[in-house]
Structures are given as C-alpha cells and as structure tokens.
Symmetry: C2
Subunit: 564 residues, 2 copies
C-alpha cells in the first residue's frame, strides 16, 4: 500500500478490519484502554472508535501486541518453518528471532538461505541472527565454516538483524582476530551473547567486544549483573526452565526495571509447546511470580522489538504492524484469536508451498563406505569411558576395565556401549570411536544426524551389525534418527533437510518420535533421560566433562583430546 | 584505540582514569552503586574496584551519564558551537542533538556542513538532525531550498541521525510528494516531529507519515495522547517553560512510564542558561515535581540516547563512552565535574581553531541598493496593522487610521511604526512593507538579520533615515542586530556567520545584547517584551495572527496574503 494512501486512511478512519470492544494494552503508557482498533491492510491506523464492514467483536478480551520469541533455533523442532509456525502461532507468538545455527553448521550459508526462503511469505514474522560460531569449536568437523567475509552479503538482507549467539567467549575476550572480524562486521547491530555465569572483568571484556544480550542466566544475581552492564536479558523457558520462577520472583520483589528483559525459548520440544504454550508460557510464569501483567506483556513483545530494533513491531499504535493477540485474560494468557502481520485472523489450515532449496541442503549426509572395520576400536584393558549422568546433559569421565577380543578390539559388554561419531558432511572418513556407559541399549543400536553443534552422525550400540544398519538407514533417509535391533531397523524418523528437519506434518513427526522412544526403551534405554536427546549431545565438546567428536575422545575440562 | 587493546584493558582492569568513591547511577537497574569507575581512553571499562595513576576522588558525589539535549538550535544562541559548548557543558550536558534549521534556511547544505565542521573535534558530542523544512513556509523567500535529493549525501555522515522537526504538518498529513520524499529518505531513522496540539486522527496520520518525537506538548493530556501513539515526548525548558511543571507533576502522580520521555531546550538564551542551567535544569524541575531522581537522570540521558539510537551513550557501563557528570546531589543537580567524551575532565579554557567555511556562510547578507524610495509604503487612510501582544509572540490583526503624506505614503506616527522585511540572501529586491503597533520606538530604528525562519532582514522604525542606517549597518557587518537613532548607529551586534552567529566570546556577546536592549529601551521600547526577539518573530508566518514576510503582509489564520 502506498504511504500516501495509508496516511489518508488514518485521517479518514478507513479500515479494512476493525477489532471492536477490546481491552487494548498500550505498552507505552502501560494503560489498558477499552477501545476499537482500526487496521488498514497490514498496519494499525488508530485506536479509538471505529467501524467497517469487516469487524471482530473482542467482547472485552485483552488485545496485546503479537508475542516475540527473541531467540529460537527452529531446526531443533525437527520440522520446517511452516510447520513450526503452526505449532507456535496458536499460542500468540507472531514474531520470532531465529538463529539458524544448526543448519549453518551443516550447510553453511546455503542453510541460512534455505531458512530465509522458507519464511519469506509466512504470516509469522521470522527474523534472523547470523550464526556466529560455525563450527562451534575447533575440535570437530562441521559441514561448513563461516568467516566474516561469508557473512558480509547477508548484511544487506532486511530480515538479518545481527550476529547470532557468540558462544565462543574464550576467543572473544581473548581478542582472536577471526572472531573480532565478525563482531566488527555487525558493529552497531544487535549481537547476541551466550555467556553462562560469565562475570566481573571477563563479562566487561565480553561486553566491550560486542555481545549485548544473554539468554543463559541461571540465577537472579547473574541477571542483575548482566543488566548492570547494559546487556538485555532473555528469560528462557525451553524444554527445561530450572530456576526461572525464582529469577522472575526476585525481579518482581526488587522492583527491577524490566525494560531490558524479554522472553525466549531457545530450544523447546513441540510436545512441550503443545502442552504448555510458547512465549505466553513465559508471560504466564512472569505474572504468577508477581510481575504486573502489562509489564509481562511488554517483556513478551515491546521490549524485544526495541532491543532488536524492529521498527513498527511490538505495540498497538498507528503505524505499527497489525500482528496482535486477543487473550481471554492477562494471567493464564489463553489465546482467543491471533491477528497476523498481514492484518488477518490466523488460519491454521493455510498451506505454504515448499521452496526450492540448494542441493547441499538436501544431500547433507555424505558418508564413505562404512564397514565393521571402520568401527573397530583398538583398546587397552582399561579405557576412558563417557559416563552419562541420569536426567542431565553433563557427563563424567571414568576409567573402566573393558572386554577385548583376540585382536585387542573393544567388545561392548556389561552396559558399556560402543559410540561412534562419523563425519557425515564431506565423506572424509573421519570417525571418532569411544565407549559410553548409561545408554543401556541391549541387542541394538541408535543413531542420529542431529548431534550438536556439528551434526555429525552419532551412533551407539552393543553390536556392529545393528550400528552399521542404523548408519545405512540414515544414509538412505538423508539423515534423522534410527533404532535398529537384531538386524532390523525398528523405527526411523527421516530428517532429509540437512539431516535436521522434515517437511512432514507435525503430528506425524510426534508419532515417529514416540515410536523411536518406545523402541529405544524396548532395548533397555534408561527412562529417565530421553536417549535420543542424550545421544544428540554426546558429541558437543563444550559441555563438561567428556565428549566424543569425529576427531576423537575429548576432555572438556582440560580442553584436550584424550589419547588411548 | 584498537578493539583488541580495549578488551584486554577491561580484562586486566588497566585504566587511564579512575573515578574513585562515587555513587554511580546505573540507568539499567535504577540502582545507585557505590563504586569506582574505570575509564580507558574514551571508554568505560568497568564499574567496581579500580585504581590507576590518574584518579579523581568523587568523595561520594553522584556520577551520572552525561546529560543530553535532545533538540536544540545552536544558532539561536548567536554564538558558534565552541562558544555554545562553553555555556552548556559546565551544566553537565555532554551531548546535544542539534537541528541546524536556522543556518540551513540561510546557507542551505553549506550551512549544515559549517555546523558539522565546527563540531567535529569538540569535547561536546554534537549530533545532527537534517532540517526538514527549508524554507519553513511557501510564503517567504529563504536563502535556500532543501529537497530530498539535497539531503541524500548527508545520510552517509555518521553524525547525522535523522530528519529534523517536521513543522509542516499540513503537507505531511496531506501526503505532499516533496515532504513524503524526505520522510521516505529517512525511513527507519529518527524523525523529529513538531505538532503542537495535533490530536486524534490527524495525529495518527502524522505518526504514520513518520515523525516519532514531539517537543511541543503544552499540557499533560497532550503528552499522554502522544505517548500512546508511540511518540517520544521531549520535555522542553527553553527560555520559557509555561506549564512544564504541571506536566511533570502529573507524570509523577499518575506513575506514567518515563522511558519514552526525555529533555530538550530547543531555544534557550545564554543568559538564562547561565542563570538556571541547561538540561540539569529540566532534571531539577522533574525531581521537584515528584519524579524519582534516577528516573530524572534517565530522562536526561539514557532515554534520549536510546530514542535517537546513540550507541554507547547514555549509561555508565563497560563499552559506553566516558562522558559523565559528577553532581553534588540528585536534587539541585549542581555540577562538581564533567568528564567529556574523550574521557578527560572538561577544561573550560581549551580553545578550538575556527574551521574554514564555505564563502556563502560568511557572505550571507546580499542586498541591492536600498533607498528611501524602497521603503515607501503606499497606503490608504485605513490600513491593516500588526498589533503586538505584550509578553507574547502572537500578534493581532487590527485596522487603523494612519497618517499619509501628500503622495499617499504612510508616515509613522501615534506609535505606529513602519516595518520592512527585505529579502537578504540573493539581492532579489523583494521587500515586504507593513505597519506595526507595540514596538514603541521613537526617533529611531531597530534591525535584525535573525528573523525566523527565513532570516531575512527585518527593520522597524519611525523614520526612513534611521531605518536605512540600520540596514546599512547590517550589510556592513554581515548581519546581526543594530539600533540607530538620530542618524547615528547606537549599538551593533555583528553576526557575520550566516547573519546568525558570531565567533566572539560569549561575554562580549552578552554585553552587546544588553547594550542593544538598553538602546532600544532608550528609544521607548516596551520593557515587558524583548524588542529584539519580538522583531525576530514578526516575520514568521506560522504564529498567529498576522505577520510580514518579504512577499507582503500575511494573515496566518486564513493562510493568505493581505492585499492593500
């Protein structure tokens, strides 16, 4: 619509949609105003008394700006953006700031472009942060490496807001040139931080280097210290949200200004979203912890829009985009209706064409011939072992006596499984082999191409035949998850897009996930820890204490490989 | 300083200046924290415990971010930026957002460039808004016309923040193409509004067109309505500040969020600044009206920095620029010390070289030969007259019997003076002639090249000889003010830079101003209204009810020229 026409429409009160009789939350004055809201195409043109042919009677429900997830990895949902939208939008989230970190680790800039294409025309507003740490560490081989020069063309894309979470704080405060180049490229734009428990002068140095947000705070004192440095704090409720209620309670009790606090999910299972909600879940908890409802709404909308420089988003006022949510109340935040960024009521049945993506996004599982010999782990009598900790992602390093065959190779036994991390992007043949305790698989193997952050193929099992079978199943499906037992692939969840996502409908994916879990459990996997998630994190060399990458067994505490 | 070195300095706590023992105002958490502040060159590297060779003991005084004047016309001070800085900086203002509207009306983009040059290396941080309305109205001839295409090169200048006050709301909500072109050019950047009493759908349309701030609010309801639309409201204390205390009291009483409220002076006489202070005067009034002191500090600093997108300004935190103020208290806001943007204590004795400016900035008074005949006002027995209102800038339109000579020309008598507005930029010979009542000059004339907004030469007197003398005095001095009587130029304040400013020291200018006033009063000028200011505004065809431009007598209410 031409600017002139919009100005004229506002002047004349000529709306294409009027929401009548709403309790409108004004984030600027923190008032709740009983009024009509006039929309012309995709823009609010006034709050007051309006009418037109196309009206929605709010019946006194609360109208808020559409909610914003300030930091999320869509790929972690295992579904593509249109499906992900269908999961979150009914909960009132109309804008997400996505960090395509996972797909970038597989397919580099082609992966980022794929996510961009997928989200171009969605009613959900999808904005991006450019992944800053690809690969996440120098101790593994990912599918791509992103240097500042690779990112430069993305600066000109309107939906790329800034630089994604800077996890590598060591390079950052150490002043490593490659990291500083990226930070300088995004100077003046939002730069997401990722600095759990960083404090004092280290935090000061990290701030000066550029990162201006953090979503890793695990206690109130950490929140306060980071706010003091001018960081924006993203309160995360992902699949886990330990300690978040305590943080919010203290924010309320100490009457801390909330203008630099906002919400995110980071990674949240679809099942959990379906059950608990999305950003409205954060708002609900905030109110339950004593934050005034209008402040909670601001944390869920305006504060994030302002922090990330989103023009015309996050408020209900003339000139602002029309995405809004009608809530039954500002306590449970139960959604009555969602108005999209196009100024229309959200329609869950609308379908979107699949975009044409670069071949490397589909053909991401590139493996050489893998044989039993490839999986042979030459061992000594006593070996370093990855000991899993129930219900947690951390692991412990243990030394254990192991069973060997005549040739001196490790034989899984007594709960010790063989673990392999196979470079799966460029068929280099790099294979890291190790031993894991705690997965408890018997007579079978589980495998995944979702393996943070490099997303190599990770497979664990108690026999080579099932392990090889699971590997071949994933080669065939272009990635995903597989459980094999007794020479049969029991269940498979194909994730053909970068080995991370599928275009399949959400319900189908959830069903397959349940089937995978059931199969893993039938092989003896511990019920307390989701074995598929546990497997996904066994290759991430940043979480203590011991991990396996395609380069070998890695001691995270000492930051060095373990020779054996 | 290289980024690497700064990061390292923060990590090691290696400061070049430490302010010890201060009560540091943290604008993010709204705490006052007793601590040291470490600065490395021009940047804060930490708040905590620090020491270095170069220390200032704050003795428990309050350390705040440097104050920000969010909207000011430097030219109105009649002194050039270095002198203006010397007036305001001792009051704790370390950043100003200047709108070089006056000099642009005289010298166009060369005028804007002159202000830019003057402020490049000052310890005062000077940022600019590009004047949007040059000329201010179509009813007069200014020195230049600025179209969007003229402004385009300025977008790339780092200190040009956005578009200056959009006074022409009629063109704006009318969707006039030339105005929309300018607004589109600055889309996404700050655009200052100027919309006294604009309300309802007109205000909505104005907002949608682009302007996002307003500094013209004269009552609390206006403030609230503008805030509701997402406008930032600048609370102005200029030379006059009627009703501002009432606004601030209501803001405090109704506990209105202040995050989108900030401070400005717009136009404030040097004498008043010397007496009352600058932005610290706004802060003082805010606290006196019940705003919590830390919120007042935020209004004076952080809120403006955020609204105008100033990175690294407006807070005391690692990575922020070092400009800060030590105040004795947060009530009277009496300044103890000012730290400049260079991280050094402000030195009032530092001198700055005058920049080399474009010739048109100096040679701005271009007049053809002006004779008694040029000033001949052919009149009828009854004539429309500009009637001044004591102590106000508005005027009334009156019809009065006048004295005529034999040839039918107006002769000043009975308190009616002759008024002339002479186009002084391009020697076009355009002269508007009229009659003014209320200046009360006897046996003399006063003249000025400061005449908002086109800054033509305006002269009033009761005889042609003194009028011509005053005109010639200004031609000679390249502009300024002059008072002539009995064939002698009594006093002259030369303003050779664009006819608006002088490089002369502030004290000299103040002295000359007083001498001008004394001279005007000796000729009988009304003591209640500063005759020089009154004269300056007689040519501004936007203030009701009747004005004189170089094109003739103008009825502001009817927006038309008055034929006679």
């Amino acid at each position: 619509m031409r600017q002139q026409d919009l100005i004229r429409a506002a002047l004349k009160g000529e709306a294409t949609l009027v929401i009548k009789n709403a309790n409108v939350v004004n984030v600027f004055t923190e008032e709740i105003i009983h009024a009509d809201v006039a929309i012309c195409e995709d823009t609010v043109i006034g709050v007051g008394e309006y009418s037109c042919e196309n009206e929605i009677d709010a019946g006194g429900a609360f109208l808020t700006p559409g909610f914003i997830d300030a930091h999320v990895h869509i790929e972690s949902s295992m579904v593509t953006p249109p499906s992900f939208m269908k999961v979150i939008m009914p909960h009132g989230t109309t804008t997400i700031i996505a960090d395509p970190h996972e797909i970038a680790n597989v397919a580099g800039t082609a992966g980022v472009r794929a996510m961009y294409k997928y989200t171009d025309a969605l009613p959900l507003r999808v904005l991006f942060m450019m992944p800053s740490c690809v690969p996440a560490t120098p101790f593994e081989h990912s599918g791509a490496t992103l240097f500042a020069e690779d990112m430069e063309p993305f600066l000109r894309k309107s939906r790329i807001l800034g630089l994604g979470e800077v996890m590598d704080y060591v390079s950052t405060i150490g002043g490593a040139q490659q990291m500083l180049d990226k930070l300088r490229l995004f100077d003046g734009k939002p730069i997401d931080g990722h600095a759990p428990l960083l404090s004092g002068r280290e935090l000061n140095a990290y701030r000066i280097a550029g990162p201006s947000t953090d979503h890793e705070c695990s206690n109130f004192e950490e929140v306060k210290e980071k706010l003091r440095t001018g960081m924006r704090v993203l309160i995360r409720i992902g699949s886990a949200a330990k300690g978040i209620d305590e943080i919010l309670r203290r924010v309320a009790e100490e009457n801390l200004p909330t203008e630099n606090i906002m919400f995110c999910t980071d990674d949240k299972h679809i099942e959990t979203i379906n059950r608990e909600g999305h950003i409205n879940c954060n708002a609900r908890l905030a109110v339950a912890c004593g934050i005034p409802p209008v402040k909670a709404v601001k944390m869920a909308s305006y504060n994030a829009a302002r922090a990330y420089g989103l023009k015309g988003v996050g408020a209900i006022a003339p000139g602002y985009k029309a995405d809004m949510v009608l809530f039954e109340d500002l306590k449970e935040f139960k959604v009555k209706k969602v108005i999209t960024r196009f100024g229309r009521v959200y329609d869950p049945n609308e379908e979107f064409p699949k975009p044409i993506l670069a071949p490397e996004v589909y053909d991401s599982v590139n493996l050489p011939l893998i044989t039993a010999d490839s999986l042979r782990l030459a061992a000594k009598e006593t070996m370093p072992v990855i000991e899993m900790v129930p219900e947690q992602l951390i692991t412990k390093r243990a030394e254990r006596k192991v069973k060997l065959d005549e040739g001196g190779a490790f034989i899984p036994a007594d709960g010790l499984l063989k673990l392999a991390v196979i470079e799966r992007h460029h068929a280099t043949g790099n294979i890291g082999l190790g031993i894991v305790d705690g997965l408890n698989i018997k007579n079978g193997a589980i495998a995944s191409t979702v393996a943070h952050d490099s997303h190599n193929l990770v497979v664990a099992g108690d026999n080579d035949r099932d392990m090889l079978l699971a590997i071949e199943a994933l080669r065939e499906s272009g990635g995903g998850f597989a459980v094999a037992s007794g020479g049969i692939v029991l269940v498979r969840l194909p994730l053909p897009i970068a080995g991370l996502m599928t275009d399949a409908p959400v319900e189908e994916v959830l069903q397959q996930q349940r089937a995978l879990l059931d199969a893993a459990k039938s092989l003896g996997a511990d019920e307390r820890t989701d074995p598929l998630i546990a497997l996904s994190f066994l290759a991430l060399p940043v979480i203590p204490e011991i991990r396996l990458t395609d380069e070998g067994l890695f001691d995270v505490t000492k930051m060095e490989f373990i020779p054996y």
